[in-house]
């Protein structure tokens, strides 16, 4: 078993996620100016750039490539991603920022979007999921490159309230409920990567997708 000092070291090597700020317009969400340590952000981005095992999700309302990290537990170079102490740090800081307790059961996935792909305005109201934290990773995307995460006050394009810049290694989190309208604008240039932490509900024992990691 690793010593507490060693565990703390792993957490510091991977995670920053400090100065997490709660915003309330158009609905409660949190923003973080730096999520991972710079070395880990670079390692994880390089891993995603070199990954070929993505699943295409192509529907009328959105198109994107997806992968779940539970299939990649053998990848030592990114194992800090699902380290229990790192996840505990994410859970605790996100919970403090949201002002509610969050589950230790966390699904971690990634999305890759290439030019032409987008996610239209929607909410993610899934009974066994409560909150989501989305981390943007890239090597610099111009302001007009598309692929912005957009928060809206309603289901119409005119309801745009917050357009987030795609600054690498920053994060946005929000509750998954009927009010949290969001969208990803169509990607115009280059590839867009995000890592998504989904906090599962402790009230639901029989999960349809048991592929989650557990925070310490």
């Amino acid at each position: 078993m690793a010593s507490p000092a060693k565990m703390m070291e792993v957490c510091d090597d991977v995670l920053v996620f400090e100065n997490v700020v709660q915003k309330t317009d158009p609905y409660l969400h949190i923003l973080s100016p730096q999520f991972y340590s710079e070395p880990f952000a670079d390692t994880l981005l390089a891993w995603m750039e070199n990954q070929t095992d993505w699943n295409l999700h192509d529907s009328l309302h959105y198109q994107q490539y997806e992968l779940g990290f539970s299939r990649f537990a053998h990848c030592k170079e990114i194992e800090g991603l699902w380290d229990g102490d790192v996840l505990a740090g994410i859970r605790d800081r996100a919970a403090r920022a949201f002002g509610v307790p969050l589950s230790s059961r966390i699904n971690i996935s990634a999305h890759k979007m290439v030019p032409g792909q987008h996610g239209y305005i929607h909410t993610d109201k899934i009974p066994h999921e409560t909150h989501r934290v989305v981390v943007t990773l890239n090597r610099g995307r111009p302001a007009d490159s598309g692929g912005n995460l957009v928060l809206l006050s309603g289901p119409k394009p005119a309801d745009v309230a917050v357009v987030l810049k795609q600054i690498s290694n920053t994060a946005c989190g929000f509750a998954l409920d009927s009010k949290s309208y969001h969208a990803i604008t169509r990607v115009k240039t280059a590839t867009r990567f995000t890592v998504i932490y989904t906090f599962l509900s402790d009230a639901v024992m029989d999960l349809p997708n048991p592929n989650f990691f557990v925070a310490s």
């Binding site: 100065n19 997490v20 700020v21 709660q22 915003k23 923003l31 973080s32 100016p33 009328l60 309302h61 987008h118 239209y120 305005i121 302001a143 007009d144 598309g146 912005n148 957009v150 394009p157 005119a158 745009v160 917050v162 357009v163 987030l164 810049k165 600054i167 920053t170 946005c172 969208a183 604008t185 169509r186």
Partner: protein
């Protein structure tokens, strides 16, 4: 939450009105594309149904 922490995340939000307007336009265009594809899919489904009914003799005509 400190004021400095709140200020530290302000740079994450797009304030360029040109970019924000473009986002609204992109979403409006995406809406039109979705509606157009949905209508097209509906028409194709109707045509398929009509074709299938034409190919299947009505039981009363037997």
């Amino acid at each position: 939450m400190s004021t400095s922490a709140a200020t530290e995340v302000d740079f994450l939000v797009e304030t360029d009105s040109g970019i924000v307007d473009q986002v609204r336009k992109d979403l409006s265009q995406a809406y039109l594309n979705i509606m157009s594809k949905a209508l097209q899919a509906g028409r194709l489904a109707e045509q398929g149904e009509a074709g299938s009914q034409a190919a299947t003799p009505n039981s009363r005509e037997k």
